[in-house]
């Protein structure tokens, strides 16, 4: 990309970000956008570990949560004394970041002694430890109710009080841009490069003079810093932080975001954060089985696209530039119908099972679809769903081989194009 085009793209993206809250004016959409912004920072910080340093963490929520609690304590203190007003709110995420940084430094000394699988286990254990200890100190973590505060206090900043959600949105966008820029810049520093080196080959990194443990520790601490910024923003956004923020669910969620988005590309986790946040809020309004679909989707990605969505985009990029994608579109179009049929069958079966099994305790065995009542206790819907699944699946398998074959052609042609 020429520098000119990337500048235009950046400007367009910025305009979109600023225009969004005026397009989606509803409170729900706005809070979803805010959540996505926070998730983006969090997922990017996670990828500093997984994508860049090769550390699979199951306890990243600790840094997010501790950052959030630090920010919350300062917010309560500032709110009580009125110090700083809106300025304090603007700078609060930095406090969260420092909290995350400190936590990362302290816990990192223990966890980064080992890498790979062991690190994964230890991060899980340490995360579990912090999450279980937190409720024992209500003075620090607020117990079950968590800690809450009012973000509106003191003097406004150019008329901004951070009362309205839209103002908070802009604050989140600003911090997200700064944090993303910071994390992107970090990948281009000596430490960032050595993190990649340690990811690829920790032993060799030793033999070029670097201590892999130190590299991991610093990366963990810095990643904790950015996670803490996200935590601080979440403290401002929700005006509450609870102990469960530290827990396994938050850690698993950020892992899902980063992985589904793609850990191999810098922008991958951004896609993941936006998508997963949207899905978990939106999907749950349509089906009780959303966690099941979610798990299925995740496993599908692990088995078929371990590089996440970003890797799929990356895959299409070169052929697209060379105008070779037109070879693929017809194949995709052919596969679209069987994909849709298979999915419909799968969803049908899952929903039917949910209706008759213990999953939905409310015990409603029928639901309405296109104005038609479907009763899971009768055999017809089952037959239809299973038929769709089987026939769609068989058809898909056939058409997919066409897609795969066409791809091989495209890749060959792309490689030739690249050589030229």
């Amino acid at each position: 990309m020429k520098p000119g085009t990337s500048l235009i793209a950046a400007a367009l993206a910025l305009i979109c970000l600023l225009a969004l809250p005026y397009v989606f004016t509803q409170g729900f959409a706005l809070s979803l956008l805010c959540q996505m912004g926070i998730a983006t920072i969090f997922a990017l910080s996670y990828n500093m570990l997984l994508g860049q340093t090769g550390l699979l963490s199951f306890g990243h929520a600790v840094y997010f949560g501790l950052g959030a609690f630090c920010a919350m304590h300062v917010l309560r203190w500032a709110g009580g004394t009125g110090i700083g007003g809106a300025w304090a709110v603007v700078l609060l995420p930095l406090i969260g970041g420092l909290g995350g940084l400190l936590a990362g430094l302290i816990l990192g000394v223990v966890t980064t002694r080992r890498a790979g699988t062991i690190f994964a286990m230890i991060s899980l254990g340490v995360g579990e430890m912090v999450a279980s200890i937190a409720p024992m100190f209500p003075a620090l973590f607020g117990g079950e109710a968590g800690l809450s505060a009012n973000r509106v206090f003191g003097a406004p900043l150019f008329g901004i009080t951070f009362g309205p959600q839209r103002q908070v949105y802009f604050l989140i966008v600003a911090w997200a841009l700064v944090a993303a820029w910071g994390m992107r810049a970090l990948t281009r520093t000596p430490l960032g490069r050595m993190a990649n080196a340690v990811r690829d080959n920790p032993e060799r990194a030793q033999f070029v003079g670097y201590n892999p443990q130190m590299v991991r520790l610093l990366m963990l601490a810095l990643s904790g810093f950015f996670a803490g910024i996200a935590g601080g923003l979440s403290a401002i956004n929700y005006e509450i932080v609870t102990g469960e923020t530290l827990g396994a669910n938050t850690s698993a969620l950020v892992l899902l975001m980063a992985f589904i988005g793609g850990v191999g590309q810098f922008y991958g986790p951004i896609i993941g954060a936006v998508l997963v946040t949207f899905l978990q809020t939106a999907l749950s309004q349509y089906t009780h089985a959303w966690l099941f679909y979610f798990g299925l989707f995740f496993l599908f990605m692990v088995l078929n696209a371990p590089g996440g969505i970003a890797s799929l985009i990356q895959l299409h990029r070169d052929p697209w530039r060379q105008g070779l994608l037109r070879w693929i579109w017809p194949q995709y179009a052919l596969a679209a119908l069987p994909v849709a049929l298979t999915l419909a069958g799968l969803i049908g079966v899952v929903e039917l099972i949910y209706r008759i099994a213990g999953g939905v305790e409310a015990g409603e065995t029928s639901w309405k679809l296109f104005g038609q009542a479907i009763d899971a206790t009768r055999w017809q819907p089952w037959a239809l769903a299973l038929l769709l699944l089987a026939a769609g699946g068989a058809w898909l398998e056939k058409t997919w081989s066409g897609v795969a074959w066409q791809w091989q052609m495209v890749l060959l042609a792309t490689a030739r194009g690249n050589d030229r």
């Binding site: 079950e144 109710a145 749950s284 966690l291």
Partner: protein, 412 residues
């Protein structure tokens, strides 16, 4: 001419709007977990609300024929997610919300409702709390926009300790609670109240366990046995209760268990025979109270949904809301709230009164014991275990009340 047409059109439009407003249902937002680990609890609650609402609608609805409508919002038991869902609620113009699972969520919602109503005085929202029992909500944190239909944890302890005080056989009490706010409140209340009512009772243990983390309760049971406790008071719920009782049974511990949530969803099934005769619960209602009008309703509910109807207070809450709307002649939350304050109502589970000072419902409470169902005094079993609850004592509502520190701020 033109003008007259215009006026006519205007009148017609207004008429239509007014007419449709009458036909429109009054929506109540139900914000509780519908997915995740506690989805069953949320779903069960939703089903009970729906059943009561259906019943009210079938009998003519509210405000001369308008229907009530339950709209479900999944908060995944997370305070943050609850705030997002609260946004969705206000987006849809819903003016009444109800929630019960988790005092953390309730606390957040009270804050959110207060802030919203302050910033949007023409679109106020009313919060009806059916199960979050933190005493603070009707004391220091009380709000004009919040009404609680469950007895708070201190009131329940008041009732439990009054009962214990009358049993001279009780000498040694062990307090066993989860290590979080609610558990600590239970422990504190028990210590204070027992100390006043029966100073001779020795509290031989005051244990806190991390919430949902203990897998093997045998060591705790061994400790309780060693302490020689004859009675255990516990605010534990879910597995922290059922595992505990099972371990006690396994080790042959014969103490009585005074619980808050012995009848909670799934707990009787997990307890089974292990709880027979020694697990007691405190509730505002249960199936084996003779003469309440809600009995047949609950039986029908169970037939249809295969789960127990156990929230007597859901029935109370919805009927009080309907009555308040009717007496206010409006679905404006501010007016409904005024009508609710101090309201007295004879409901299907008995007479109740909404205390004006703190918006805490006053209702009779029952202490009952998990007993083998015999078709007579224990007519119904719970969760098909063959065991049901049998009343030990009925406490009158005035005996359960505690003074409040609430200084209610009402909108002018």
């Amino acid at each position: 001419m033109q003008l007259r047409y215009g006026v006519a059109a205007f009148a017609l439009t207004v008429g239509c709007f007014a007419g449709s407003a009458f036909a429109q249902p009054v929506k109540i937002a139900y914000i509780d977990p519908l997915s995740g680990a506690f989805a069953n609890v949320g779903e069960a609650g939703a089903a009970q609300f729906q059943a009561v609402i259906d019943d009210i609608n079938a009998k003519g609805g509210v405000l001369n024929g308008r229907k009530l409508e339950l709209v479900k919002f999944d908060n995944k038991t997370s305070p943050q997610e609850s705030l997002i869902q609260f946004n969705a609620v206000t987006d849809q113009g819903i003016r009444f919300i109800t929630q019960g699972n988790g005092s953390s969520v309730a606390g957040v919602l009270i804050d959110a409702v207060n802030k919203w109503n302050e910033r949007n005085p023409d679109k106020t929202v009313l919060f009806l709390n059916y199960a979050a029992v933190d005493p603070d909500f009707t004391n220091d944190k009380c709000s004009f926009w919040h009404f609680r239909f469950d007895a708070n944890s201190d009131m329940k302890m008041q009732a439990l300790t009054s009962f214990i005080a009358k049993k001279p056989s009780i000498k040694k009490v062990y307090l066993f609670n989860q290590d979080y706010q609610f558990g600590k409140q239970v422990s504190k209340a028990a210590n204070d109240m027992l100390g006043k009512k029966r100073p001779d009772i020795k509290i031989v243990g005051d244990e806190f366990i991390p919430l949902g983390k203990v897998k093997d309760f045998a060591p705790y049971v061994a400790k309780i046995k060693a302490a020689g406790a004859d009675t255990i008071i516990t605010g534990n719920w879910g597995n922290d209760l059922s595992l505990f009782v099972k371990a006690a049974r396994e080790a042959g511990l014969k103490s009585d268990f005074y619980t808050y949530y012995g009848g909670g969803l799934g707990t009787p099934a997990a307890l089974g025979a292990a709880a027979e005769g020694n697990v007691k619960q405190i509730t505002e209602w249960h199936m084996n109270i003779p003469g309440t009008k809600v009995e047949q309703f609950a039986v029908d509910f169970k037939k249809k949904h295969k789960i127990e109807f156990y929230y007597g207070r859901v029935n109370v809450e919805m009927r009080m809301l309907a009555a308040a709307m009717n007496s206010a002649g409006s679905d404006n939350p501010a007016k409904v709230a005024q009508a609710l304050e101090g309201m007295f109502l004879s409901t299907e589970i008995g007479d109740v009164e909404m205390r004006k000072d703190d918006h805490q419902l006053m209702q009779n409470l029952y202490i009952s014991t998990f007993t083998k169902a015999d078709g007579k005094s224990v007519k119904y079993d719970v969760e098909d275990t063959g065991f049901g609850f049998k009343t030990d004592i009925e406490l009158q509502r005035k005996d359960t009340m505690l003074p409040t520190t609430c200084k209610m701020k009402r909108p002018v």
